[in-house]
Amino acid sequence: MFTPEDEVPAERVVETLEVLLRTPPFVRSPKLARFLRFVVEEELAGRGTTIKAYTIATQALGRGPDFDPSLDPSVRVEAGRLRRALEEVYAQHAEGVEVRVSVPVGGYRPRFGTMEAAPDIAEDAPAPEPGAPPPRAADRPAPAAVGFTPRGQAAVIALLAGILLVLCIDLGLTLSARMGGASAVPRDIAVRGR
């Protein structure tokens, strides 16, 4: 779980930001570095709600005022790259990094958590692509054992009860047919015999 944002002091976030910006992915990409610095500083300044594709494009990525986020996916694309870059930094260059910065899918506002806590995979996982298996599913560790939740247990019990009920009905119909059939044969024979 992430430690809630308000438990991470702003000065620690700022220190972490400067460390992050010196790591290889952000040194290689000034564009991603500007993106990260902009969203973190805006969030810390209390302007998180105004972080939109348009403000990122025009204030961090050098786009003109005619930038139209409904037709230009640049910010969406760079946000995806920013998420991948942060993943790479925390996997390979996390020395001296005290705060975990993430930008959850579906928005551009950053979240801050302490490094002592494991990242919240559910919140950070990219949305599954429609009609395709989750793109990063192969990277997730397989669970050691599969267990049922109480809801799952109830579903399994209901399914088994349903199967049992169908079998009972089938058995009853079979027996009924045999018994009915046994009495029908003599009538049939009797009719033919006339």
Binding site: L71, P73, R84, E129, A132, P135, R136
Partner: protein, 76 residues
């Protein structure tokens, strides 16, 4: 690990990849391309973008084209 670059473009616009990503192999590079596509298509704002025209060109460290991954037509 080798570094791969994921340039995203349609016929008129291009969003070149400056940083690239380290991937174990081509399979992981393909998964990363799909993750970038999913991220782009699930942005917070409504768009009128025709995603069918967009694609990811995956390139090696020498920026040679390895393969292309098209965007699906729409978000499910």
């Amino acid at each position: 690990m080798p570094r791969f670059f994921f340039d995203i473009m349609d016929s008129t616009q291009s969003v070149p990849d400056e940083a690239g990503l380290e991937c174990r192999d081509l399979g992981e590079a393909h998964r990363q391309a799909q993750a970038l596509i999913a991220d782009a298509m699930n942005g917070p704002e409504a768009t009128r973008i025709d995603w069918r025209a967009w694609r990811v060109e995956v390139r090696d460290e020498a920026h040679g084209l390895l393969f292309t991954v098209p965007f699906p037509p729409r978000v499910g």
